[in-house]
């Protein structure tokens, strides 16, 4: 089995709202994939479709080479962690985790002592040993999340699906749990898909990131791929910060107005285009060709980063420029900016 999950040309519509418009994705065994996108992009719908909680209007989902439409929810063996965890509040932690095992048909059900052994092992795995008798209302958010994860893992799922796994937690707990989940995934090795709107989370955690926008996958790739080589203007703008310049391409050069700003271009059709430049790819330089004159209007500091906002004539929005440590322009100073790297997209 080379592919764990195959998503084939899925289309899904809610009333008049097209949630997914032809989505295809292959997920490898043991892979950790993030579905990243703004709210309303269809990422949660896609996750629920893989789980079987929604039905596709068109297209199909395969586990290996089994068409999931033929499988009942039980036979899909999906470990699903809900955004609000969906723990059973009238059951204690041990009963929550054992629920999946006890729900098996009698002949496949482990005996009671085996179940309690498994529960104990899972609680150790999620680092909550000894909490068997607690009720969900007596746990913190992070603990509930880990109980939900243990409950999902108890059924030995084919695929682990996490819906905004860190959405309801505060920043500090999120960071800790993220590192812990990465480490756990390395140890347990389940094929895992998680949904998030937090790009930092997706880029840090996932082997591959699928970026969704308006019901379509814009790009799939490793964190480096999608960040350094965005396939579409949306990906470029969605990931990290970026400046946008309207340019015109002639030959191997891009012109802002009548001033060349970026050279050495290959494989372009020429004509109007948008040039996307990240703040770290703008450098203040002494007078040279291929430079953009502007005025420093604002200086900010964000942790280790120093940033200048530079107004350029003919551009409404000021350019964000990351400053090297030895550069210290003053407000009002005229500077020249060199674009060291940019992504060019033909204007729509």
């Amino acid at each position: 089995m080379s592919v764990a999950v195959t998503i084939e040309a899925i289309e899904k519509r809610f009333e008049n709202f097209p949630a997914l418009r032809g989505v295809s994705l292959d997920i490898q065994p043991g892979e950790l994939v993030a579905l990243l996108g703004p709210s309303g992009s269809g990422k949660t719908t896609l996750l629920r479709l893989i789980a079987g909680l929604e039905e596709a209007d068109r297209g199909r989902v395969l586990f290996g080479d089994i068409d999931t439409r033929a499988l009942s929810l039980r036979d899909r063996r999906i470990g699903f962690v809900f955004q609000q965890y969906a723990l059973f509040k009238t059951m204690n932690v041990a009963d929550n985790i054992a629920f999946g095992l006890r729900s098996r048909p009698r002949e496949e059900r482990p005996i009671a002592s085996e179940i309690s052994k498994r529960v104990k092992g899972l609680l150790e795995l999620v680092q909550l040993p000894g909490l068997e008798k607690r009720y969900p209302s007596q746990l913190s958010g992070g603990q509930r999340q880990r109980v939900a994860l243990a409950r999902a893992l108890a059924i030995e799922p084919r695929v682990l699906l996490l819906d905004e796994p860190f959405g309801a937690l505060d920043a500090k707990v999120r960071k800790d749990l993220r590192a812990w989940l990465r480490e756990l995934h390395g140890r347990v090795g389940h094929t895992t898909v998680f949904v998030t709107h937090d790009q930092e989370e997706a880029l840090e955690l996932a082997d591959r990131v699928a970026i969704l926008n308006a019901g379509k996958i814009e790009q799939v790739g490793s964190a480096d791929d999608v960040y350094d080589h965005p396939a579409t203007p949306f990906v470029c703008e969605f990931l990290g910060e970026v400046n946008k310049l309207p340019v015109k391409v002639v030959g191997s050069q891009a012109f802002f107005g009548d001033r060349p700003v970026l050279g050495g271009l290959s494989q372009n059709q020429g004509g109007p285009a948008s040039l996307y430049v990240r703040p770290q790819h703008l450098r203040i330089v002494d007078e040279t060709p291929l430079a953009l004159p502007g005025t420093v209007e604002h200086l900010r500091r964000n942790g280790p980063l120093r940033r200048a906002e530079v107004a350029v004539e003919g551009l409404k929005k000021r350019l964000d420029v990351d400053l090297a440590s030895q550069v210290a322009p003053a407000i009002g100073e005229r500077v020249r900016l060199r674009i060291t790297h940019g992504n060019l997209f033909a204007a729509a």
């Binding site: 039980r74 899909r76 063996r77 999906i78 609000q84 969906a86 509040k89 009720y135």
Partner: protein, 297 residues
């Protein structure tokens, strides 16, 4: 009393209003509930021990109390099941006429109970719309090797069964209205989680959906039961009021009053009060325990 030295008023919040709210509560509760009930006890006590015992143990009193409490219990149980299903349907499904049915649930609250009683009596009478259909269904059946025989003689109106029909009618809204908001609040993700973990529908309903609803269901049961125990207006029209058979306790109290046997009426009333209070208190204690345990997630 000096032994209560350790008792302290619960610290009122820093927000004003404690004194006023407490004052109004105590005054209203006293005027409307506590003083009349105390008066009842005083009146009952005026009868003297021998008379109290005579009234309390007379076969007619016991039969009436038994009918009232067992009938109310049965009606409340029926309403618990039926009301839960009705609330579920109203919350979960959308169908034409849903709002109409939702509104109709409250009718037993609004309708004068006498009107309900007369309507039920007319419909369930042997020649009524429903009663005429029930008559041919009569059966009797003796359990083998015993003298116990059970059966249905085809009549509802003017029998203890008629009493229960009326009690079911007036108690239904209590269960529906207490359970409905809890069902509405149930998150569908819990059900989805159960299904994905492999639980079949039956297990999902009994292990996942019902337990959180149980406290509200119990409240609905108690309310329906309490209402049914004290119900008078609708029952007397359908019950037939045959002493020892279909005579309910509230009616017997009224009969005693009409015979100027005030003390006897007060004794019966006090008995009803004590039994009801004990039952309701017990249920509330069970509930308080459940609430402490599961909290709210």
């Amino acid at each position: 009393m000096t032994t209560t030295a350790s008792f302290r008023w619960r610290e009122p919040s820093i927000l004003p209003g404690f004194g006023l709210a407490m004052g109004i509560t105590v005054t209203a509760l006293s005027l409307i509930v506590l003083i009349p009930l105390a008066g009842l006890f005083v009146k009952a006590a005026s009868a003297g021990p021998a008379d109290i015992w005579a009234v309390a143990t007379s076969p007619r009193t016991l039969a009436a109390l038994r009918l009232s409490f067992l009938g109310a219990l049965f009606a409340a149980l029926v309403n618990t099941v039926f009301g839960l299903i009705l609330a579920w349907v109203l919350v979960r499904y959308d169908f034409p006429g849903r709002r109409l049915i939702d509104a109709a649930v409250d009718l037993p609250f609004a309708l004068p109970t006498a009107v309900a009683g007369i309507s039920l009596a007319a419909i369930y009478a042997p020649n009524g719309w429903v009663g005429s259909w029930l008559a041919p269904l009569a059966f009797r059946f003796t359990i083998p090797f015993t003298d116990v025989s059970i059966g249905f003689d085809g009549k509802v109106a003017y029998t203890p069964l008629g009493v229960m029909v009326a009690l079911i009618f007036i108690g239904l809204p209590f269960v529906v209205r207490t359970v409905q908001p809890v069902l509405e609040e149930l998150q569908s993700d819990v059900e989805e989680a159960a299904a994905l973990l492999g639980a079949n529908r039956l297990r999902t309903v009994f292990r996942v959906i019902l337990p959180p609803v149980l406290p509200a269901l119990l409240t609905g049961f108690v309310l329906a039961f309490a209402r049914a125990v004290g119900e008078y207006g609708s029952v007397i029209f359908i019950a037939g009021n045959i002493p020892m058979v279909s005579e309910i306790a509230p009616l017997l109290i009224v009969i005693r009053l009409e015979q100027f046997d005030y003390a006897g009426a007060a004794v019966m009333a006090t008995m009803m009060l004590l039994i009801s209070f004990a039952l309701i208190l017990a249920v509330n204690l069970v509930q308080a325990r459940a609430r402490r345990r599961f909290g709210d997630v």
